[in-house]
């Protein structure tokens, strides 16, 4: 059995996101007038072997240690469906 999860990382709301701003600007120029704001982040799909410890806890550590810089980014962890080997 393996466990699949998705970690999503976004710049924190109080941090200016120039990438998202540029994308929002481009969408406006393409005529998508309803777009008010865009925030650009990163998404990671992670496959883990079934183990003894808590998967959520491990994914939290993975996010804090490497995937996100928590000074400027927030992360969220989402478990996807498990698959039998």
């Amino acid at each position: 059995m393996t466990v699949r999860a998705r970690v999503t990382v976004y710049p924190r709301p109080e941090i200016l996101d120039p990438q998202g701003k540029a994308i929002a600007g481009a969408l406006g120029r393409l005529g998508f007038d309803r777009v008010l704001d865009v925030r650009a982040g990163k998404s990671f799909e992670i496959e883990l072997a079934e183990g003894s410890g808590s998967v959520e806890e491990e994914l939290g550590q993975i996010s804090e240690k490497l995937l996100a810089n928590t000074l400027i980014e927030d992360y969220s962890v989402e478990l996807l469906e498990s698959e039998s080997a």
């Binding site: 200016l16 120039p18 990163k42 490497l66 995937l67 810089n69 000074l71 400027i72």
Partner: protein
């Protein structure tokens, strides 16, 4: 002084730093591979510019977990000198050795041009060859150099005198107002270009002193950073502007 220049996969200013330390300043320099777990008997270690690990994830994020970084951290804890330039600065931030973080440049562009810096402190091992308030011209070349931290942390940084270099206009005036983006090349908070740790033995800076360290390059404003770091700045009196 025994000096080490760390080579990460993707470092590209390592040979420039090596050249200045060895040939301009006559020091005993060695390259240190990122996979090494010791900095040997180096008293100064330089983390050079470049794109370590292709800047994957975030600039500097992967390099922090290289075996050499534990030894670099230990050297810093023991009072040894550590200088991070450009990507090296980003690595020191990701390692939590200086505080703060880098965001993409406000312009969203890779900025590659000369910047003007004001020396805010000349009492550090890295700046003893300068006068406080001296204005330097130094090249910058990066996409993620917008230094940020919380307002509270920035206040503390300033209060503790840890801002070493600040982007200014060509006359040394504050990079503010309409022309702010021209002088504060990446939009850094409070125009911060370089910071040191509490003890003053670790310095991170975005501009490249090694790229302006010889009259032959057309600019030697940066030589005194490396000369100071190896303790020979005083010998260069008269050579340095």
């Amino acid at each position: 002084m025994k000096c080490g220049v760390v080579v990460f996969p993707g470092s590209n200013c390592d040979h420039d730093v090596y050249h200045v330390l060895k040939h301009s300043l006559g020091q005993d320099v060695h390259f240190l591979w990122h996979g090494d777990s010791s900095v040997r008997d180096c008293e100064l270690v330089v983390l050079p510019g470049g794109f370590s690990y292709g800047d994957y994830l975030r600039a500097g994020a992967m390099a922090v977990h290289s075996p050499i970084m534990a030894a670099v951290r230990q050297l810093a804890d023991n009072g040894g000198r550590v200088l991070g330039v450009c990507n090296g600065f980003q690595i020191l931030l990701e390692a939590g050795m200086l505080g703060g973080a880098m965001r993409r440049n406000q312009s969203l562009r890779f900025e590659c041009r000369d910047a003007f810096l004001r020396v805010e402190r000349s009492d550090l091992p890295f700046t003893s060859g300068y006068r406080s308030g001296q204005v330097l011209r130094m090249p910058i070349a990066h996409a993620e150099g917008c230094y940020i931290d919380t307002e509270e942390a920035l206040d503390k940084l300033e209060h503790n005198g840890r801002v070493v270099f600040r982007y200014v206009d060509s006359e040394g005036g504050a990079a503010e107002g309409e022309q702010a983006a021209k002088w504060n090349v990446n939009g850094s908070a409070r125009a911060i270009a370089g910071v040191c740790n509490e003890a003053g033995n670790v310095l991170g800076m975005m501009p490249h002193p090694e790229r302006c360290a010889d009259k032959l390059f057309g600019n030697d404003d940066g030589l005194a950073v490396l000369a100071s770091a190896v303790g020979v700045a005083a010998d260069l009196e008269g050579v340095l502007a």
